[in-house]
Amino acid sequence: MPGEILLEFPDLFSRAFWYTVQLSLIGFGGALAIGTVIALFRVSPVAPLRWIGVAFVEFFRNTPLLVQLFFLFLGLGALGFRYFTTDTFESIFRAAALGMALYHGAYVAEVIRGGLLGIDRGQIEASRSLGLSYVQALRYVQLPQTFRATIPPLGNIGIALIKNTSLASTIGVAELLQAAEIVESRTFRTEEAFGAVILLYLVLTLPASAGVNWLERKMLIAR
C-alpha cells in the first residue's frame, strides 16, 4: 500500500513534500512580482520598455522550462555563478525557484496585461464625470474588474506551477518526484513509491483546482 511506505520513510517524504510546497510558494510569489513588473512594462508608453516586455514574455513562453532550469543551474554555474551561497543544494534550490518564477512570470504578465487592458477607458472617464475622484474611480470601478478578470487565471497558473515543480528533480532538488525515485531505488517497490507520491501530488493539486473552479464560478456570477 502507498500509505505504508509513507510511514516507513516519514522523514524523506515529509521533507520532499515540504520542498515541493516551498518551491511552489516561492516560485509563485516570484512569478507574481516578475509578472506584474513585466505587465507594466508592456503597457508603458515608453517604447523600449515595451520591447523588453515583449521579448521577455515571448522568450520565456516559447522555450521549455527544462532548458531554462538547466541554463540557470548548469549554464550560469559554468560561469561560476552560485546564487550567493556556498551550499550546493541551496544553490540548486535557488536556481530552481528562479526558473519557476521566470517561466510562470511570463504567463502571469500576459494575464495581468489582459486585465489592465480589458477595461474600457470610457468607464474611468464616465466615473470621473460622475464626480468620483481618481482614487475612487480606481477603487470602485477599475480594480474590482481587473481583479475579477485576473484572479482565476492566476490560480490556474499556480496549479500549473505546483505540477511543474517536479521538473526541479532533474537538476537535483529533492522534491516529491525525486523522493519517489530515491525510495524506489532503495526498496524496489516501484508501485508503492510512485503511488505514494501520486497521492501527495493529488493532495496538493486537487484542493487547489477545486478552489480555483469555485473562484471561477463565483467571479462569473459576479460579472
Binding site: E58, F59, R61, N62, T63, P64, L65, L66, V67, Q68, F70, F71, L74, G75, L76, G77, A78, L79, G80, Y107, V111, P152, P153, N156, I157, I159, A160, K163, N164, T165, S166, L167, S169, T170, L177, A180, E181, E184, T190, F194, V197, I198, Y201, L202, T205, L206, S209, V212, E216, L220
Partner: protein
C-alpha cells in the same frame, strides 16, 4: 579594427568564463546535423503524441458528455486525475517503471522479449497527459455549439453517431483548431522531458555536446533558440487564426491552457 574586435572578445570571454572558443561548433555541419537529428526526434515525438492524444481525447470528451453514468464517471475520473498530476511523473512512471504493467498484455502479440522502446515510452507518457487536456478543449467546443444543432439533427432522424460525425464534430473541431495548435506548442516544449528517460531529442543532444566540450551555457542557449524558433512560429500562427468562439469557450480554453501549461 578586426584585431581590436578580437582582443575585446578575448578580454570579455577571459573575464566572464564564456567559452568563445567553442562557438565555431555551432556552425560545424556535423554538429548541426547532430542537433538536426535531435530536432527530428522532438518533432516526431510531438506529432505522434498529438495525433494519438487527439483520438483518445475525443473519446474521453464524448465519454464525459455521455448520458450514461458508467461511461461519464470513468471519463471524468481519468481527465481530472491525469490533469492533476505532473507530466514528468507520468512520463517517468508510466514510461519507464510502468512498462512492467504492459509487458504481460503485449507479450502474446510481440513475443517474449517485448520491451517498450524509450521513444514509445515517451509517447505514452506525453499522450496520457495531452489526451486529458485535449479532451477538455474538445468538450468546451462541443458544449459551445447551440443546442438547436443536436436537436435538429435528432429531429431529422440522424443517429447519435451520424449527428456527431456529420453535424456536431465538424463545427466543434473547427472552433478548436487554434487551441489545438497552441497545444502543439506546449507538447513540443514537453518533449524536452522525454530526454530525461533517454530519448535523444534536442536537450539530450545538447547534453552530449556540452559534456564533451564543457560549454553548457552555449549549448543550452543554442537549443533554447531552436525551441524558440519552432514554438514562436507555431504560437504566432495559432494567434493569426483568431478564435471566433463565444466568450465562455475562450474562458474555458484559457483555463485549460494555463492550468496545463507544462515545461
Amino acid at each position: 579594427m578586426n584585431e581590436l574586435f578580437e582582443s575585446i572578445r578575448a578580454l570579455v570571454c577571459g573575464i566572464s568564463g564564456i567559452r568563445c572558443d567553442t562557438w565555431h561548433l555551432f556552425a560545424d555541419p556535423l554538429i548541426l546535423r547532430f542537433f538536426g537529428e535531435g530536432l527530428l526526434q522532438t518533432i516526431s515525438l510531438s506529432l505522434v503524441s498529438v495525433f494519438l492524444s487527439f483520438a483518445v481525447g475525443l473519446l474521453f470528451a464524448l465519454g464525459r458528455l455521455s448520458g450514461r453514468r458508467w461511461v461519464r464517471w470513468p471519463s471524468i475520473f481519468y481527465i481530472e486525475t491525469i490533469r492533476a498530476l505532473p507530466v514528468l511523473l507520468l512520463i517517468v512512471y508510466f514510461g519507464i517503471k510502468g512498462t512492467a504493467l504492459f509487458r504481460p498484455i503485449m507479450q502474446p502479440f510481440f513475443g517474449e522479449d517485448f520491451e517498450l522502446s524509450r521513444f514509445w515510452a515517451g509517447v505514452l507518457g506525453l499522450s496520457l497527459y495531452t489526451s486529458a487536456v485535449l479532451a477538455e478543449i474538445i468538450r468546451a467546443g462541443i458544449v459551445a455549439l447551440p443546442k438547436g444543432q443536436s436537436e435538429a439533427a435528432a429531429a431529422l432522424g440522424l443517429s447519435y453517431a451520424r449527428a456527431m460525425g456529420h453535424v456536431i464534430l465538424p463545427q466543434a473541431l473547427r472552433l478548436m483548431v487554434p487551441a489545438m495548435m497552441g497545444q502543439l506548442t506546449t507538447v513540443i516544449k514537453d518533449t524536452s522531458l522525454v530526454g530525461t528517460i533517454g530519448v535523444f531529442e534536442l536537450i539530450r543532444q545538447a547534453r552530449v555536446i556540452y559534456t564533451q566540450n564543457f560549454n553548457p551555457l552555449e549549448a543550452l542557449f543554442f537549443v533554447a533558440m531552436i525551441y524558440f524558433v519552432v514554438c514562436f512560429a507555431l504560437s504566432q500562427a495559432s494567434r493569426r487564426l483568431e478564435l471566433r468562439a463565444p466568450t465562455e469557450v475562450k474562458v474555458k480554453i484559457q483555463e485549460v491552457q494555463l492550468r496545463d501549461q507544462v515545461a
